[in-house]
Symmetry: C2
Subunit: 300 residues, 2 copies
């Protein structure tokens, strides 16, 4: 069964201490879709302008990404520009042109409404709720957000979170949302907001998953060459949800833990190059090989 | 067989966002010794002043810490004062009174010179080398340092490192020492300086161990209440070396990995209270229980 993803589709202009990429393909919905597509079909809801390359739509289709929910509007595609410093975390935004994304209102094709797995990418929490309003009892609803919404639309975000099962969030955002300095206490508080599963993303330090009765820690894959961290979080979510959907899983602890490791696996590929360049060059065998490396990375 | 430790013995005055401790017992050699003593006997080389409490020396003796190498000199014991901010990392030094530590020259009792395991705590690298000059072919030499020595005595530190098997270092210090921004590349470079085993300590993110052919990642134990991070690194080294010595280990990968987990275990206890307060209240059963929790924390 296909996974529904709603999120941004963008051109990203990226600067890092080592180089730059101009108007590269990006956006949460795309990173998620491509990462997920190695595990499971995806149904995408998003918006692009007339400038979006047709050959890339063909590529997405070739990866079993259903584009029935894609709106192609008059105007330009969302364009974000950002710069990373030496830490390769928390990019500085240089410019944001929302363009057709500004008035985006996600409309679900009829056939999407009964999909069992949902990923609400990082968009306005009002829109995230609007998507859920259109769904018929999905089995698992996962969600991402960012500091922008925590600061500006906290009430709406809390409303969305009350309807979410799995919540992906950065460490600093988790502390901001919960107003707690200690991450364990932050996690406890956020889980009380709704999500039974909380996955805290810590960049190069990996991730922590908090459930009702357990904590699971997974390191990041140790890369000697990080090119562009953009899309790491959405690739993580893509690997995570893709694995769950492929397994037909609900909330079984062992599936959730492996989903975290597949999330870290996909994120590690995403950051090895700009845009989807590395994700487009890998295959299932490479993914399995790296997944297995996490066993030797963590076993004792 | 006993482990030789050389390092500081101090009074620490600590301020954190939550509270303070005045002239609490501390210092690298003490944290190391107490953590190690749960696994293996320790032989301590260090210096204190006339103000050092006799009852604490009795406590150390009761924990099988041999004090034959302890110098008790006229004057005051080393006194450090520092303050932690909300991040509970990298304390700001408020004052340093070296006192009797200023002219410390480690002299090894005859019976110490043939000990098989050595831990060189964070002191002047010249003194670390001076200790090694007195040793007869130890099986494993481990070493710690800090940014102060990297900045001021790099040549002497490199000389020490060329004689060291296991090197414990903080993440920021590893990057500083290697002049590399990427940790994997930093580790590669530092291992070429001498140590076949490099353990990078990352505070609340746990630790990474780099060997010739592998990387091992171990998370920090997720605590909901961190009181005072002082001594975490030396308690880590204490658990690590104590376990190796108890096992009579050399460089077997499985022993080294478990040593890392015991290191994280002891560090997690140390930071639950000021000074050695928590370390003094635990026992082997509690240590084993927490060690086992790392399996459920990381298994998938």
């Amino acid at each position: 069964m296909s996974i529904l993803v709603v999120g941004s589709i963008a051109f990203d202009s990226i600067e890092t201490p080592r180089g730059k990429a101009e108007k590269a393909l990006g956006g949460s919905a795309q990173y998620f879709s491509i990462a997920t597509s190695f595990f499971n079909p995806v149904s995408l809801v998003g918006v692009v302008g007339q400038d979006f390359p047709q050959e890339h739509l063909s590529y997405l289709s070739s990866r079993k990404v259903c584009l029935k929910g894609l709106q192609i509007l008059d105007g330009q595609t969302f364009h974000w520009a950002g710069r990373y410093d030496d830490s390769y975390s928390d990019p500085q935004t240089l410019s944001t042109h929302l363009n057709v994304f500004e008035n985006f209102s996600p409309q679900l094709p009829e056939s999407y409404k009964s999909l069992p797995y949902v990923f609400l990418g990082n968009i306005d929490p009002l829109l995230q709720s609007h998507v859920l309003d259109q769904m018929q009892q999905p089995r698992i609803v996962a969600c991402d957000t960012m500091n922008f919404w925590i600061g500006r639309k906290k009430k709406e975000l809390l409303n969305t979170l009350s309807r979410v099962d799995i919540f992906f969030i950065n460490e600093t955002e988790a502390k901001e949302l919960s107003a707690e300095k200690n991450l364990v206490q932050a996690a406890r508080k956020i889980r009380r907001m709704g999500p039974r599963i909380l996955v805290v993303k810590r960049g190069e330090y990996g991730s922590l998953m908090f459930t009702e009765s357990s904590v699971f820690a997974c390191p990041a894959y140790p890369l000697s060459d990080v090119v562009d961290p953009t899309g790491a979080g959405d690739s993580f979510a893509g690997g995570f949800m893709g694995y769950l959907a492929k397994k037909g899983a609900s909330f079984e602890e062992d599936h959730l833990r492996r989903a975290v490791v597949y999330g870290n696996t996909m994120a590690s590929f995403a950051i090895e190059d700009y845009s989807f360049n590395r994700l487009k060059s890998i295959d299932e065998a490479l993914i399995e090989a790296r997944f297995k490396e996490f066993s030797s990375l963590t076993g004792f």
